[in-house]
């Protein structure tokens, strides 16, 4: 079976799974309000702590956090849903590459992350009264898609790890989301973090993309747009590569031990 057919079938499955989890009506009742309330909560906290200038910083940071809400937790969890359905041995037995299925069976979550972040950004432009040109809006949309993609790659890597401990999938995704919020400059500038931890921020997804987004939306100091975008892309690709290796290692070890569906 060709790579393209496997990817297309998995992506199709992912969409079906997403709409069974969130039918459009439920999405607007249960997910969109979460985005709005998250922006309101952190916006009020920022207004209280630092006034209008800090509010601008935090509201754009909330766009980055929306990708965690939309992409990370579902991606980590849904990797283990395959295991819960007892279909991992069937995937391994099939002629297609099971790793391709794992990597692409959550693609809807990537787009959910991008959609969540786009909604937050749209609200942010209203809250902050931003006056963006069409080119800036398109640029921001591209950055949002990039942020969601790199977060998705992190979700895949974490998902491949929690295949061994599926009961801890929510713990893993929540801790990852809090860590990203903490270290990527979402609400606290990286420069304000303890010096020893700042290098960690530079190798995490979102840090570089968020800098570019702030530059674009708020006119924050130029972080070196090309270099920052390249860094965000490279970090995403490295995470994707690690996820591939981790899935392959899990499948090989589990086949040897005969524990494909016993974790």
């Amino acid at each position: 079976m060709s790579v393209a057919r496997v990817l297309a079938a998995s992506a199709h499955l992912s969409l079906g799974e997403f709409f069974s989890l969130y039918p459009p009506r439920l999405y607007f009742i249960a997910f969109v309000p979460r985005i709005v309330f998250s922006l309101a909560f952190f916006g009020l906290l920022a207004q209280f702590l630092g006034g209008p200038e800090y509010l601008r910083f935090v509201v754009i940071g909330n766009v980055g956090q929306a990708t965690f809400l939309g992409a990370l937790s579902f991606t980590v969890a849904s990797v283990t849903w395959e295991q819960g359905a007892g279909t991992v041995p069937l995937l391994v037995a099939s002629p297609g590459n099971p790793i391709l299925v794992f990597v692409s069976r959550n693609l809807a979550m990537l787009f959910n992350g991008a959609l969540s972040a786009s909604l937050t950004l749209a609200l942010a432009t209203v809250v902050l009264g931003l006056d963006l040109t069409v080119a800036e809006v398109l640029g921001a949309a591209g950055i949002v898609l990039l942020l969601s993609s790199s977060v998705y790659c992190l979700g895949l890597l974490l998902g491949s790890i929690v295949l061994r401990f599926p009961q801890y999938r929510n713990v893993m995704s929540n801790i990852a989301a809090v860590t990203l919020t903490f270290l990527t400059g979402t609400y606290v500038p990286v420069s304000a973090l303890p010096t020893w931890i700042q290098p960690v921020s530079e190798i995490l997804p979102v840090t570089h993309g968020l800098r570019v987004l702030r530059h674009l939306a708020l006119g924050a100091p130029d972080p070196g747009v090309s270099a920052s975008l390249a860094a965000e892309i490279v970090i995403g690709l490295v995470l994707l590569g690690l996820a591939f290796l981790s899935f392959r290692y899990f499948l090989r070890e589990a086949r040897i031990a005969g524990t494909l569906d016993f974790h």
Partner: protein, 260 residues
């Protein structure tokens, strides 16, 4: 009457034992760890702006949010996991009131989530924004009231979740409006005038006010605030229990439990 109470106590006790037997399960790790780690974010937000005067907000808010958040998540997960394992029908069909089983689970996780309190205070010290508690006795009483409201809100949501198929989706969205209305992380004065009166109906807003006052300066309203938190908790508790019993009766009469 005494025999009934003893039976109820045995049911709650059995539920507590089952919950404790799970040990350091995923839900507990989440509840205990996420609050203190989140507090590091809130503390750094204030510290980098030199807002040491906001210590009482940024240290206590994530702790309280962690406790209420754990209660709401636990009540949703308890119902969702019983439903997923196909035991919700058995639980409802059993002669023991299902509400008591829920109370046992929620009491256990609420008590366990108190572990977040010392962890949060330690993180505040480590990040250079220690919280000096001026009235430790009052603080302990306020913490007990917070524990009560946490258990009560857990029971209230558990009863609602029995009727909801997508509990996990709703439990994720319910928290944030409550955190905003409670003014747990910022003064209520920042809320628009039109919604501010609603805060008085959220026990957490009173819990937050009396906890903050216990750490800083007690006002003449402290006992009133404590009383309001306790009264609202009792109202939640009674409402949750009645709702649970009503839902239980309804689904037993019309056999509709598995249709939700």
């Amino acid at each position: 009457m005494n025999a009934t109470l003893a039976w109820f106590a045995r049911v709650v006790g059995a539920s507590v034992r089952v919950e404790l037997s799970k040990g350091l399960h995923a839900q507990l790790i989440l509840g205990v760890l996420i609050g203190p780690v989140s507090s590091a974010i809130y503390i750094l937000m204030a510290r980098q702006l030199g807002r040491t005067d906001a210590t009482v907000y940024v240290v206590l808010a994530p702790m309280m949010l962690g406790m209420w958040g754990t209660a709401i998540t636990t009540s949703g997960e308890a119902v969702a996991s019983e439903r997923g394992e196909g035991t919700l029908e058995l639980l409802i069909a059993a002669p023991a009131p299902a509400a008591l089983v829920a109370i046992g689970k929620i009491l256990t996780t609420t008590t366990e989530s108190l572990l977040a309190v010392p962890l949060t205070l330690i993180i505040a010290v480590a990040l250079g924004m220690p919280l000096a508690i001026e009235h430790p006795g009052h603080f302990a009483v306020a913490l007990a009231a917070l524990t009560l409201s946490t258990a009560a809100v857990g029971l209230l949501f558990a009863s609602v979740f029995v009727l909801a198929r997508s509990t996990r989706l709703f439990q994720n969205v319910i928290g944030l409006p409550l955190w905003i209305l409670s003014g747990v992380a910022f003064p209520l004065a920042l809320l628009p005038d039109s919604i501010r009166p609603l805060s008085a109906l959220v026990a957490l807003s009173w819990n937050a006010a009396v906890l903050r006052a216990s750490a800083t300066a007690l006002g003449p309203w402290w006992w009133f605030g404590l009383g309001a938190a306790i009264v609202l908790s009792v109202v939640y508790f009674v409402l949750g229990a009645r709702l649970f019993v009503g839902v239980e009766r309804r689904v037993r009469v019309d056999g509709s439990l598995s249709t939700f």
